[in-house]
Each structure stands twice: as C-alpha cells, then as structure tokens.
Symmetry: none
Subunit: 414 residues, 2 copies
C-alpha cells in the first residue's frame, strides 16, 4: 500500500524554503497503513506538474498533494489534475457563496479571482477548510485516491487530521507499520552494520532495516508492515536479537535523546550534577537542561574557557595545568572534582579539548578531547580523538561526555 | 537550463527526517545559472530509484543526487545509476587504498564492506571526499550531467563547493542569479514587509523578493536572473533602498550568524566578555564560541541554574533575589555585573527567564526573559515575553541576548 506526497509551489524550490508538511503527512499515512515511498517538490509549472501527477497515478495507491489551491494565476493544481484525469471542472456555487461569506464576515468584498478556489473536478468530494478559503478535494481514480490539500501548515494540518485521515484509515483496513528503533553509542556505523547485518538480512524483505549515522551516535530502525490483525512476530524476534547483539551500547529504544536517558538515570538515583566545560563552552549544560524538570538534577556549571577560570572557579591546581596542560587527563579529572565541590553536586563532569582549527600539535592534535568524572569515590576520565571540523568536534565532545556520564551512572547502580 | 535534485535514503521518508542538503545545492545551482525545477526524495528501493533517475535524464540538464554512497547493503545509488545508464561498474584499487589508509590513520582496519565505496561507474570522474570514505562521481550522459554525492551534510557541502560548482559554472556559461540578502533583528516579519513592500513590488517580476521568519530574526532575500554579461542594476538599486529603510536593524548582508557579527565587534574594539546563564544554561556561551579565535574575547561564564550559584558565583545579593525573584530586571543586571567582576572581563551579559513548560505565573508567564548587560560604566537590561515551547524560548532567549549585546556595543563605539 504505497503513498506518495507531492508538494507544489515554486517557493519550495528556492534556497531558503523547505517542505515540512510532508513530515506530519507521513506520520498519518504510516499510522493508517500506507508507506510513503516518494516525495516530490515541484514548482508552479503545468508540464512539470502533469508529469509528476501522471507518474504518481501509475505507481501509488494514495497521492497527497499540498499547495497550488490559492486564487492566483500560478495556483494550478486543480486544472492540472483535471487534465491528467481527463475530467471536466465546474465552479461550485455553494463554495462561491461560502468564500463570499468568509470575506463578508471580515468586512471585505470577495475579489473576483477567488472564484477560482470554488472550482471542483468532476467526481471529487469537497474537504472543508475552516482556516482558509480554499477547500481540499478528495478524488478516486482507478486504483488510486488523490487528496489535493492547501499549502499553508495551519490550513493543511487540521484538514488532513479531520477530513483525510478517517478516509485513509478506512482505506487501509487495519494495515499498519510496526517499528522498533535502537540508538547506539560507542560504535561506528560500520561496526553496527558488521555486527547486525548477518541477522537483519535474514529477515528481509519482511522486516526492513536502516542504519543512520548522526554526530555522536548511530540509529538503527527496523519496521514491518502488518496486515489487519497480523502480529509483529518477525519484527519482535529480530529486534530481540539486535538488542542482544548490541547490548548496552543501545542507550534508547524509544528515540529519547541521550541527555534524557542520562537525566532519567540521575533522577531515579537522586543524584545531582555540575559541569565544567572548556571546549564545549556550554553545549553540555544546554543539552542537560533541554528536558522540563532538569532543575531536579542539574545544579549548574562553569564555562572555564580561560585557564584562570579553571584555577579560580574549578580549583584545578596551577601545578597540574603547568605540568600536564589544559587538555590532559589530570586537568579533566581535577575540573570534574573541582566543579563538583563548587556546586555541592553528587557528580562533577568536565570536558576539555582542542576543537580547532588552531591550537593542535603533534602530541595533542585537533580533536583531542578528555572528559573527566568524579563522584567523591570514583574519579575517571575518557580520552578520544574526535574527527570533524570545529563545530562537529564540539558536538561530538558533548555527546562523548553524556555517553561517559551514562557509563559512570550504569557502573554504580543505585 | 534546468536542474533537479534527487535525495536518496529511506530515512528521508520517515516522519522524523527531512532533506536539507537541497537548500545549499539550490543556492549553488542558481549561482551557476541552473534553475531547480524539481526535487525528489526517494527511498533505498531499486525500482523507485531507477524510475526517478530515468525520468530525470529525460528532462534536466543537471541532476544532483545526495546519499546512497555508504558501505552498507542499502546504499545502492551507484548500482542503480550504472543500470539506468547501461554502463559497467569496476572497483577502483586507488580508492580502496585511500579508504584503507583513512581507516589506518585512525588505528582501524578497513571493514571489507567499505570496498563497495570504491565502485566506479564507467566514464565517471571521481570527486574526492576529504571528509569521509565515499567519493562522489561526475558523469556525462547524453544532454545531461549527473553528480552523485554523499548524503552527510559535512561531506556533501565541501565536495559540492570544491568539485562540483566549478564544473557547473563552466557548463552554465555565464548565466547566473545575482542576489542580495538582509538579516534583520528587532522587527517582526510583518514590520519588515510593511516597510519594504511598497518598494520591492515596484521591481517585480524582474527582481524577486521573499521574507522569511526564523527564531529570533527575519531574513529578506532579493534576487534577479541574469543573462551572460548582464549587470544587476535593478537588483542593486532595490537592495540599496531596502538597506536604507531597514537601517541598522540589518545585522548582516552576508549571512554571517549574529554571534559572528558580535564577535567581530568585540574583537575590533579589544573588549572581552563573560556570561551568566540561567534559563539558556550554556546556549549563549556555546554560540559565542562557535567561531575559531573566540578565545580572544570570550573569557568564560557561569551556568547559574540553581539560585545558590547566582549568589555564590555571580555575586547577586540575596536580598535582590528575595525581593525581585530570579527572573527580574534587578537580578539580570546584578548577574551581568557579578559575572563581569568574577571573570575580569570588559562586559558581562546575563540571561534569566522562564523557559517552561512549568514555573510560569500570571505576573511572570512562561516565555518571560530578561537579559542584563554591564560594562562598569553602563548597566542595562532588556525584557521580553518570547513565544514558543521550551526549546524555542531558550533559542530565542540566546538570540535576544546576542541582539542586546550588539546594540550595547554599537551604542558605545570604540
């Protein structure tokens, strides 16, 4: 049961705009049993639009378009689709009246061009638009259905939810997608693939699997399309094996960000945290406080960019800085212990490194990052050389700190 | 001269991901004389990909694809395009050697599957990938050229800029889009439109104009298509008028982020800064240090999430906190003065607010944010109620602090 989405509008082909309607459309389509296998963004050009709609009719059971229903010359979705389907268009007097009334209720006369928005393709059902003048159209044509919807998010969202989804659910007849996802830390994309490919390939094509690399973590998604009433036995079986293979390198199976997982571990165990950030300069603190309620465990921190702050505010002995340098295991551990004491938190965590592009040396290259951890009993550090440019090294350093903190918490369960 | 973009990857068809590479690809294509008339997002499915590439070859002079060049089973762009073009594939031993070396330089052995990334379609030129293992491919086929590029933004961007753009410029033969853009702070989207619409509408359709709202700022873009040798007189004329109308609400005409503009002002005037962040908890410090060389002006800061840190580390008198509360003009100013003294910087800047979703009251609603500024002579604050959810309020609060800091610096030129 394949669906495709066609976003219409020349503005969506400029360097500043992007189609985002397709995200919630996809969620709704999947939930009602349709797999989005293509998205096309096309300008207000009749030949291009005709080609796209014609191709779609041959290959997709559900076709959802957004945009091109406005009143102006370049809003041509209705006329193009009528031509592709070989059906006449008529102007619906009830819709004209409704649009006229909408204008009147705001004290305006309806401009003549808005009559275009009352054009209806033969055989179409009309989808009300409580938030705008253009109604949507629902059409059946051969083995496909088409929903022509308006472009503005505030108009298309309620129309899709209230008018289109119920029709899709009826069409889908109980089909749906079941999925399991795994977010993994501490392994590369190829590592993950090498470990699990022998397993997931055995479940193809029934269960699909994708592996995706993000800065700092790898995500793996498996999903299975289910007929009405069908259980997801294969998916569950595969997911169990994947989880067994990857073990606690998996930090979430529910798409929780790593900071939320760490926040949960802190909260559950009643522990608090403070951060000392050099090269990340706030990124770690910002991430640890993304979740509502983070004040329960986040005490605060020091952005110890300058060395004076490492000494004065985080209590790093001047001799440690002099002997080992700001980017060293010794300084990282001293920062963690010092910020912990300063904020009277259960745990202190620190990040110090060379984000680049300058400041690297043969011994301490750009990308070298140390994370320090201290809880009064244990003092630890992690060391890595992170790839990427300045921005990416900093992002990965914050992720590395969260991953090390998770490990620190897991190793000492409450 | 038509171009189309094909983004490959099943993850781009999920409800969580969207293709964003096409934005900078579009900018580059336009600058070299090609108009993007279609974008397609297709999953890792051979029949779908074949249909899309086949259709593209018939209708576009330039076809750029992103994604599907990775080492895993579902990375099939190379094999699909080879089949569509009817050309054989061979494994290039030099590329295998380069990938192996890349792994070796990090202390890893190359996994066997990475050999797939060394596959080259007959007749293709190889586009180096300094940031990853997968090289891109440049192909000529009939009246079209194809560039097969990797998916990760940090890999595709430099490859497109250095390897693809020069080839496109040569193909484009001097046609191009000329553009001027303005990033504006302190005005709403409707404010900006009301001021400049009377001017830009007079230049339509020769010069196009769009106004776009982003969290914290508004961007305005004007552009004009030019034949080889044609000057952009109309565009320059309009741009001059727009700049005159918007004045110093324009913080950049070169798309520099606001933190870079502020960093430039600090550096030029030899001033240094320290931050005290409550609700943003590091976002401001992170942004101020995004640019290389920011250690010249950024001294550090305090994440004063807990009230104790506001008192102990930033010297806010307990009485001020008790009388006015943590989210108040008085606390914001005391934080700015305190963190300035603590870090011995020229300027102190603070952010304190209610990011939500909890903690709001009738008097102090969610979204209320104060920014404080102090330089030893002047003490100031700004107050706003920012719209949006927790994440957006925090983003806008950091932007508001940067905007207030810019104003503070402009008002006291060196």
């Amino acid at each position: 049961m394949k669906a495709e989405i066609i976003a219409v509008g020349s503005e969506l082909l400029t360097p500043d705009h992007i189609d985002t309607n397709s995200l919630f459309l996809t969620r709704g389509l999947e939930a009602s049993g349709f797999e989005v296998h293509l998205k096309t963004i096309v300008g207000d050009s009749a030949p291009d639009m005709e080609a796209v709609f014609r191709a779609a009719l041959g290959r997709s059971q559900v076709i959802i378009s957004s945009g091109g229903l406005g009143p102006t010359e370049d809003d041509i979705t209705r006329t193009v689709v009528a031509r592709v389907l070989g059906r006449p268009i008529r102007t619906d007097p009830d819709i004209v009246a409704a649009i006229r009334e909408r204008f009147a209720s705001r004290g305006y006369a309806m401009p003549r061009i808005n009559e275009r928005q009352a054009e209806v393709i033969e055989g179409a059902e009309i989808l009300d638009n409580p938030r705008g003048t253009a109604p949507g159209l629902w059409l059946e044509a051969g083995d496909s259905v088409l929903a022509l919807l308006p472009g503005p998010p505030r108009e298309i969202e309620p129309m899709f939810e209230s008018r289109v989804l119920p029709r899709l659910e009826a069409l889908g007849g109980g089909r749906r997608v079941a999925e399991r996802s795994f977010h993994v830390v501490g392994l590369t994309e190829s590592d993950v693939d090498a470990r699990v490919a022998p397993v997931y390939t055995r479940y193809q094509p029934k269960v699909s699997t994708t592996i995706l690399s993000a800065p700092g973590h790898i995500s793996l998604r498996t999903w299975q399309w289910l007929a009405p009433g069908q259980g997801a036995a294969e998916l569950e079986d595969l997911a169990g094996q994947i989880h067994g293979i990857l073990g606690d390198a998996v930090f979430t199976t529910t798409r929780e960000p790593l900071e939320q997982v760490v926040g949960g571990l802190l909260r559950e165990s009643g522990r608090t945290i403070a951060v000392a950030e050099s090269c990340t300069a706030g990124l770690l603190g910002w991430r640890l406080t993304r979740m509502p309620g983070s004040s329960a465990y986040f005490r605060g921190g020091v952005l110890c960019y300058a060395n004076e702050a490492k000494v004065d505010l985080c209590g790093v002995p001047g001799a440690v800085l002099e002997t080992h340098g700001a980017v060293s295991a010794e300084t990282a551990e001293a920062l963690a212990a010092g910020v912990r004491a300063r904020f009277a938190s259960t745990i202190g965590v620190s990040v110090t490194g060379i984000a680049g592009p300058d400041g690297g040396s043969e011994e301490k290259p750009v990308g070298l990052v140390y994370v320090g951890l201290a809880d009064g009993t244990r003092t630890r550090h992690a060391r890595r050389i992170l790839p990427g440019d300045r921005e990416l090294v900093r992002e990965r350093a914050a992720f590395m700190a969260l991953a090390a903190l998770r490990r620190f918490l897991l190793d000492d369960p409450p």
